[in-house]
């Protein structure tokens, strides 16, 4: 799946073709299981993206990882979470009956819904959940406009 701008340049004119292609993208997004999963490089953990007026929060489910095994990068408004989940090798005599969990390398990239301030990014890992909080850039925050009276 390709990386698409998240409504950064909304078309104000009525354009049925653009709307159709938007619908097409939305359908693909639904069927491909959400944001941009790079399946070629392994598995893609589930994530949520929430935003309000001044911040964007990205929540990624990454159970059983070490902080050192998670990489985060931000470039051109795309946040990439990657890393590796290493399988814990315990006693060799143990026989594995069934495996449902994912191990190995993972990578996910998300086009952020607004411009962010790259100096104001916080990331924390707790209870197997990575939370990244990004402050929106001042220019992408909604502005209150005072109406002048004569």
């Amino acid at each position: 799946m390709s990386i698409i701008q998240y409504r950064k340049n909304p078309s104000h004119r009525f354009s049925p073709l653009a709307q159709l292609s938007e619908l097409h993208r939305e359908m693909n997004r639904l069927f491909e299981g959400g944001a941009l999963t790079d399946t070629a490089t392994g598995w893609g953990p589930a994530l949520d993206v929430i935003h309000d007026t001044d911040r964007i929060e990205v929540v990624v489910e990454l159970p059983g990882l070490r902080k050192e095994d998670i990489q985060l990068s931000l470039q051109d408004g795309v946040l990439t979470v990657s890393g590796e989940r290493k399988a814990v090798t315990e006693t060799q005599t143990d026989e594995t009956h069934r495996t449902e969990r994912f191990f190995g390398k993972f990578q996910r990239s998300i086009e952020l819904p607004a411009e962010v301030n790259p100096d104001k990014v916080d990331a924390s890992y707790k209870d197997g959940v990575l939370t990244v909080t990004l402050a929106k850039a001042d220019e992408s925050k909604p502005k209150q406009i005072t109406i002048q009276t004569n």
């Binding site: 944001a35 309000d52 059983g64 315990e90 143990d94 009956h97 495996t99 209870d127 197997g128």
Partner: protein, 122 residues
């Protein structure tokens, strides 16, 4: 898993208002080890009960009602639940559980009476 396995799925918790946590199952001479992914669950929100030979795992996510609008929502905001039937070869009184970084490690030891024993000839 077949019915002779020391642990098998007792009921399906898929659908409904639950998430079925993904699990791995390993067996060794000492018993069975189950690892379950429960991201977002702390020990306060985790309830493990054994009744007869029925093991129930119920995990509540930390309440984190998001402030704002969703752009993507892939994480199902429901509790985790999974129920297993244990063979009577497992000593349910000695089950141990550890929760770390959203992974639950369950140790289900074999009862002493079923463990292999060497019998010396007198």
């Amino acid at each position: 898993m077949n019915t002779t396995a020391p642990i098998h799925e007792n009921e399906t918790t898929e659908g409904a208002r639950y998430c079925t946590p993904k699990a791995d199952f390993h067996s060794g001479p000492e018993g069975t080890r189950v690892e379950l992914d429960l991201p977002g669950v702390t020990s306060d929100g985790l309830e493990i009960t054994v009744e007869e030979q029925r093991l129930t795992i119920h995990g509540r996510r930390k309440n984190s009602e998001p402030v704002g609008d969703w752009v993507y929502q892939e994480i199902r905001p429901y509790d985790y639940r999974r129920v297993f039937s244990l063979a009577n070869t497992i000593d349910t009184a000695k089950i141990k559980a550890e929760l770390k970084d959203g992974v639950l490690n369950l140790h289900l030891p074999l009862a002493e009476r079923v463990k292999p024993r060497r019998i010396s000839v007198g």
